[in-house]
């Protein structure tokens, strides 16, 4: 009997079109746009000037405050602008634009294919290296990794959980790195174990990725303390709290962090980035992105430099299909439609999904028939139909009582609703307003 989480969850069609496509290297574009805010927390502060020459891997913006991350140049070239750019949602955000000249890397970065197994750094040095490399959660939430590895005083981590679930339909980037970079990931996991001082690490992988499970299992058996846990396929298993429940059986209390039950969760992509940062001195300047969609000619997985325009990635996959109605950054469940395909690939871009006219349109919302399907689908045990009604009437205090802040915005409620009601849209709005209300109260 495979493990999974207890309450809620849905089974969207998997559509993993690109799972057998090897990771290819996307050519370096002529120009990259590197936004200063690619993570949760304060945007980074630029430390370079217009006209400066930078090498790939060079630090160009430093973290502002504790919850923030360093930003490095992903290419070598001249800085042409430190200005606002138009992001995927069409809004203006600060960024550094670099015109590419050649491909010169910083000297201290190792770029060999050989896996280094010898972890020499101490616990503190590891966290320092991770912080310097600007690593953030690669699953999409982009929370600065060094913050997650420094638990608040009084809390002790007992288990490291590595998230290789990739429960979003269509996306296969994590799947491919688990197959092609398995050794590096295992070393990355050992580094993370050392950083938070735990003896046990579990890699959770959904059962639809048998090859990745076998590959990692064969390596894990040789490594002390690391094991692989196959999981029953169910969305949203990649949610931190769901994954902890599935693997350890522990429930994270409402409003608490995973560390409250002694768990630290990191994505497989983050483990790989940690390996590169600690063993090869390489900051986070490139990542694997899935480009997929039913009408896309060649769905695939590409290793892209951060800052590459998304349009370049679409070109590499055979161009934009004619029947495209939406381009989505991320997966179909939690991703966001974008209006500007020239916007860059970010640290948290796990995939680009192109939706055709057959799947694109949203259906007309009809009246709630009180079937309570959303209640049984909610993995956090909330009542989405009620939260939506409260949100439409702006009843924020009642929303707080109904634990709207526990919502992980997974979209299971909207997915399952037979009346096609935009449950998540309203809940997300209400959650944002409730959050603002709570913050104001503290002031």
């Amino acid at each position: 009997m495979l493990k999974t989480f207890r309450i809620g969850g849905v089974h969207p069609p998997e559509n993993k079109l690109s799972s057998s496509e090897k990771i290819q290297i996307l050519p370096v574009p002529e120009q990259v746009i590197i936004p200063l805010g690619q993570h949760i927390g304060a945007p980074a502060t630029p430390i370079v000037q217009k006209g400066d020459y930078v090498k790939a891997g060079q630090l160009i913006a430093t973290a502002t405050g504790f919850v923030s991350a360093n930003i490095h140049s992903s290419v070598s070239g001249t800085i042409v602008a430190i200005d606002n750019f138009t992001d995927a949602a069409g809004l203006s955000k600060p960024a550094i634009t670099i015109k590419v000249e050649g491909d010169e890397w910083e000297k201290n970065i190792t770029r060999s294919e050989k896996t280094d197994h010898n972890i020499t750094l101490s616990k503190e040095k590891i966290i320092e290296a991770i912080s310097a490399a600007g690593i953030v959660g690669m699953g999409g939430a982009t929370f600065p990794t060094q913050v997650k590895l420094s638990p608040p005083p009084g809390n002790k981590a007992e288990i490291l959980i590595i998230n290789g679930v990739e429960c979003e339909p269509y996306l296969t980037a994590d799947h491919r790195i688990m197959l092609e970079k398995a050794e590096e990931i295992i070393v990355g996991v050992q580094i993370l174990m050392k950083a938070i001082d735990v003896k046990q690490a579990v890699i959770g992988i959904e059962n639809n990725k048998r090859d990745a499970i076998e590959k990692l299992q064969s390596l894990a058996t040789k490594t002390l303390g690391v094991e692989v846990c196959p999981l029953k396929v169910r969305y949203p298993q990649g949610g931190e709290k769901q994954l902890i429940k599935a693997i350890t059986g522990r429930s994270v209390p409402s409003g608490a962090l995973p560390i409250a039950v002694g768990a630290v969760v990191q994505n497989v992509g983050t483990a790989l980035a940690v390996y590169e940062a600690v063993m090869q001195n390489k900051p986070l300047v490139e990542r694997v992105v899935t480009i997929t969609g039913k009408s896309v000619k060649h769905p695939g997985n590409y290793l892209c430099r951060i800052g590459t325009p998304i349009s370049k990635l679409i070109e590499a996959a055979g161009g934009l299909p004619e029947d495209t109605t939406k381009i989505i950054g991320g997966g179909p469940m939690m991703g966001r439609a974008m209006v500007n395909p020239e916007s860059p690939i970010l640290k948290g871009t796990s995939g680009i999904l192109i939706i055709n006219d057959k799947e694109g349109a949203r259906k007309q919302s009809r009246n709630c028939i009180r079937c309570s399907k959303c209640v049984s689908a909610c993995p956090m045990g909330l009542e989405p139909y009620l939260l939506m009604t409260l949100a439409t009437h702006n009843m924020l205090e009642d929303m707080e009582k109904e634990k709207v802040m526990d919502c992980i915005e997974c979209g299971s409620c909207s997915f399952t609703c037979p009346a096609d009601r935009p449950l998540l849209d309203y809940i997300r709005l209400g959650k944002a307003r409730t959050g603002a209300m709570i913050r104001n109260r503290k002031k």
Binding site: A89, G90, R336, S365, D425
Partner: protein
């Protein structure tokens, strides 16, 4: 017969006894309330819209009775007329407050502002605003989902289907300000209704630089400063590439309307212009 008599008498006795008890209890636990509150409440429109900032008309009545100066106590629905009556009833003087009206400061109709994407999410401006720039290239302009229409309790706002923008029905708007709060992009403003309902305002809230703003919308203010230089009363300020007319300083001369190269400054309820522009009109204050 006897039974009926006894029943009637005993019931009457219980009734009288209860009445006496109730009388004394009522005297003992009497809530002292200023009788003027009821009088003032009677004078108010009774819409309970909350436009004054108090919880309903009774809330305003209580505040009016308590307040010495009547400062900050004003019923936008009833306007000066009602407030004068209230002041007379309370034996106080109030400063006259100019009647106001909601003004939609966006002229990004389908013609002026081409659609760049199609929004098919939940039909709510607040949600659309939180997700992205909106279905046009202007990050400041009206989204047209009608959050303001929904909150208006006086049926004074309607989306014009040909422009996709909300329009204020002057005869119905009471300036309660519900739409101002509902608009996620702060497009609607309460402005002085003006003498003879005449108003001049900048119908744009775009703070982008001129070129960017123009690209998104042909009716966008480009912050060229022409109006500010032209204004004889220093009523116009240009900040962040956007002109704003202070309605307290504006004397409705309409010189700015004539110089605006975009036509972003709108005049309302003025008689048609003659071919030669007329001399500045004196405002009737």
């Amino acid at each position: 017969m006897n039974t009926i008599l006894i029943t009637i008498i005993s019931l009457c006795a219980i009734g009288v006894a209860s009445a006496v008890i109730l009388y004394f209890v009522a005297q003992k636990f009497k809530v002292e309330e200023d009788p003027r509150i009821d009088i003032v409440e009677g004078l108010l429109p009774g819409a309970n819209c909350g436009g004054c900032g108090f919880p309903g008309c009774r809330g305003l009545a209580e505040a009016a009775v308590k307040s010495e100066t009547m400062e900050g106590v004003f019923c936008p629905v009833g306007g000066s007329e009602v407030m004068n009556k209230v002041a007379v009833a309370l034996g106080r003087e109030i400063t006259a407050q100019a009647p106001k009206i909601a003004v939609v400061r966006c002229n990004g109709s389908c013609e002026n502002r081409p659609r760049t994407s199609m929004y098919d999410g939940a039909h709510s401006c607040a949600i659309e605003h939180s997700l992205y720039i909106g279905d046009t290239a202007c990050p400041f302009g009206c989204l047209g989902c009608g959050d303001c229409v929904e909150v208006c309790q006086f049926d004074a706002l309607h989306i014009n289907p040909s422009t996709g923008l909300p329009e204020v029905d002057e005869s119905k708007c009471v300036a309660c300000g519900a739409c101002v709060k509902a608009c996620p992009r702060n497009i609607i403003e309460l402005r002085n209704k003006g003498p003879k309902d005449r108003r001049v305002f900048v119908s744009c809230v775009n703070k982008d630089k001129g070129a960017i703003a123009r690209k998104a919308c042909t009716a966008a203010c480009i912050g060229c400063m022409k109006c500010a230089k032209e204004c004889p009363f220093e009523a116009i300020t240009v900040e962040n590439n956007l002109a704003y007319i202070d309605y307290n300083k504006c004397r409705l001369c309409r010189k700015c309307v004539a110089v605006c190269p975009i036509g972003a400054i709108h005049e309302v309820n003025f008689p048609e212009r003659k071919v030669t522009p007329e001399a500045p009109q004196a405002s009737e204050e």
